[in-house]
């Protein structure tokens, strides 16, 4: 019976996410801090104390930037402590707040122990806690945005965590490389290059798997962010490979990789808004789902 328009005056079916740029930066800082914490723990286990200390410091700094970014984006910033009022297993934001609180505190304690040269046992324990929570910090944000009705996020739920994990590895590698002394730059360089390559592959796989819903990642502002991310990640990885013995090239490469991971996060964030704003992206896959149920 519906040979007329299949939507309501072209109005969106769902509401756009209200998150501002702070959340894009938080995806970046949290991912970087989480992966750096894991790099710190593994470096320490491998007996590379210097590298462990630098990675811990990078992690503590990145994770200390995260809460202010999240609080600034709240509609009621003074109520930020309400995030710890309950622990809700069905809410990725609730779980993430608790994990971020724990990992951030642990990374800060480990960095404090390193810098002040006090309480070594407590410091190593804190480094281990932060390092073990690192992968969760780096990937839970993917679950958080997948757990919405936003088509470009929800339908990418199988691929988004890998994009976030790879981007976290790339940014943590690049940041720790910049902070590491000359003799300790091998592991962070390898991590940055592998992470950048991984992010390029994972983002490509996600867009391909999305089919028509991948459109918001190519159109308009998110599309520009995504293209900038690809160029920066590929260029940065190439420069860091070439820059093994040329620190200046390496520094430029690390900077490009950091910029690329930031751009990728903003591409994902804004593709969500774009896909929420167009009723086609919400309605068409649902109609196909109904048609599939009828025919099967």
């Amino acid at each position: 019976m519906s040979d007329h328009r299949p939507d309501y005056y072209g109005r969106p079916v769902i509401k756009q996410p209200v998150w501002k740029a702070e959340i894009g930066w938080y995806f970046f800082s949290g991912g970087l801090g989480g992966a750096a914490a894991t790099l710190a723990l593994v470096s320490r286990l491998a007996g590379r104390r210097d590298l462990a200390r630098r990675a811990t410091l990078v992690s503590a700094l990145a994770l200390s930037a995260s809460p202010p970014l999240l609080i600034k984006d709240l509609g009621r910033p003074k109520r930020f402590l309400y995030m710890f009022r309950v622990l809700r297993p069905t809410s990725p934001m609730s779980l993430g707040s608790w994990v971020l609180g724990a990992a951030g505190t642990a990374a800060g304690a480990a960095a404090g122990s390193d810098l002040l040269d006090v309480a070594p046992v407590a410091g190593e324990t804190a480094r281990a806690v932060a390092g073990l929570l690192g992968p969760a910090i780096s990937t839970y944000t993917a679950v958080l945005i997948s757990d919405t009705s936003v088509p470009a996020w929800h339908e990418a739920r199988r691929d988004l965590p890998l994009v976030f994990a790879a981007g976290s590895a790339a940014s943590a590698g690049a940041a720790v490389w910049l902070a590491a002394p000359a003799g300790e730059r091998g592991p962070p360089r390898r991590l940055a290059i592998a992470g950048a390559a991984g992010e390029l592959l994972a983002a490509h796989r996600m867009e391909t798997a999305l089919g028509e819903l991948g459109e918001p990642y190519r159109r308009g502002r998110p599309g520009r962010y995504a293209r900038a991310a690809r160029r920066a990640l590929a260029g940065g990885a190439a420069l860091m490979t070439a820059g093994r013995r040329r620190p200046l090239l390496g520094r430029v490469g690390a900077g490009l990789i950091l910029a690329g991971t930031v751009c990728e996060r903003f591409a994902i964030l804004r593709a969500g808004n774009l896909s929420a704003d167009d009723p086609r992206y919400t309605v068409d896959p649902q109609r196909e789902r109904i048609a599939g149920r009828v025919t099967s």
């Binding site: 019976m1 005056y9 509609g75 069905t90 992968p135 679950v143 997948s146 592991p187």
Partner: protein
């Protein structure tokens, strides 16, 4: 995953749980008077929507939002209102669909499931309500809702999420919600959900017999993606025509799949970090 809801009575209240209540909005008798919109604003002290002219039929409200908890949609179609078996139609080449939209008070409610503070909760009547003294405006519920119902109020620096409470302050004392009380045609019916479902099935049959070929119930099925709406509808066309999603799903139902993908990605990250330390020093 643990289920927090039950069908006819909400879980977690033991003896205090009451029969689940809801709305049945029968759009076939909606006359588009917007008394529901006005009554809702009056009772809930909601600010006006602004004097805008949308040029979208008689709809100058636009959509549900933080300050609009009932919204009457107007759809003009160049088709006859009814198709009778005999001579094709009732002679009128145009029909006007009207429907008063509202929060669906889902059995499996995405807004409630993703809320990190516990501000959103299920009442003893089975309805879904935001506690305005707890919401910290994180915005998580806004894109989670498959219907675009809940929204953040930005006016006067409010910053909190708001939506229909199914007049919790009235229903808990046995009163009918303001919109249903004001509806002059009983298009909006309030009552125990089980009773409403029975009534809706009868009404659908009668409307179909009258020749409304596109008539259907929307949200009455407890097996759907949100386990059934607490506020469901009788529509005369496909849901998307009214701006409603044809197959809404609570995204948290797929949380296991999401955490599984995150665990795999996290493991890959840890392995990648370990592998980066395998090479020679330098």
């Amino acid at each position: 995953m643990a289920r927090f809801e039950t069908e006819s009575r909400p879980a977690g209240y033991d003896g205090a749980a009451r029969e689940r209540v809801g709305f049945f909005t029968d759009t076939s008798v909606c006359i588009g008077c917007k008394a529901c919109e006005v009554a809702c604003k009056e009772w809930n002290l909601l600010p006006e929507d602004g004097f805008v002219f949308t040029a979208e039929s008689y709809d100058n409200t636009g959509a549900l939002g933080s300050e609009t908890w009932r919204h009457v949609a107007f759809i003009e179609q160049d088709v006859p209102l009814i198709q009778t078996a005999g001579d094709g139609d009732d002679g009128n080449p145009m029909r006007w669909l009207m429907s008063s939209d509202v929060c669906k008070h889902c059995t499996s409610a995405a807004c409630l499931n993703v809320c990190p503070t516990g501000a959103l909760f299920r009442t003893e009547l089975g309805t879904v309500v935001v506690q305005d003294d707890i919401c910290n405006g994180c915005g998580m519920c806004v894109p989670a809702c498959p219907f675009g119902v809940i929204a953040r109020r930005e006016r006067d620096g409010d910053g909190r999420a708001w939506k229909c409470t199914l007049c919790y302050d009235r229903t808990k004392d046995g009163l009918t919600p303001a919109c249903a009380a004001a509806c002059p045609t009983e298009s909006i019916q309030y009552g125990p959900l089980d009773e409403l479902r029975g009534r809706a099935a009868q009404r659908l049959e009668s409307v179909q017999q009258q020749g409304f070929a596109g008539a259907r119930l929307y949200g009455e099925d407890p097996e759907d993606g949100v386990d059934g709406f607490g506020a469901f509808f009788l529509l005369l066309d496909e849901p998307q025509v009214y701006g409603l999603p044809p197959d809404p799903v609570d995204p948290t139902k797929r949380l296991g799949e999401m955490w599984g993908a995150a665990a795999a990605a996290g493991a890959a990250l840890a392995l990648g970090v370990a592998a980066s330390l395998l090479g020679r020093r330098g």
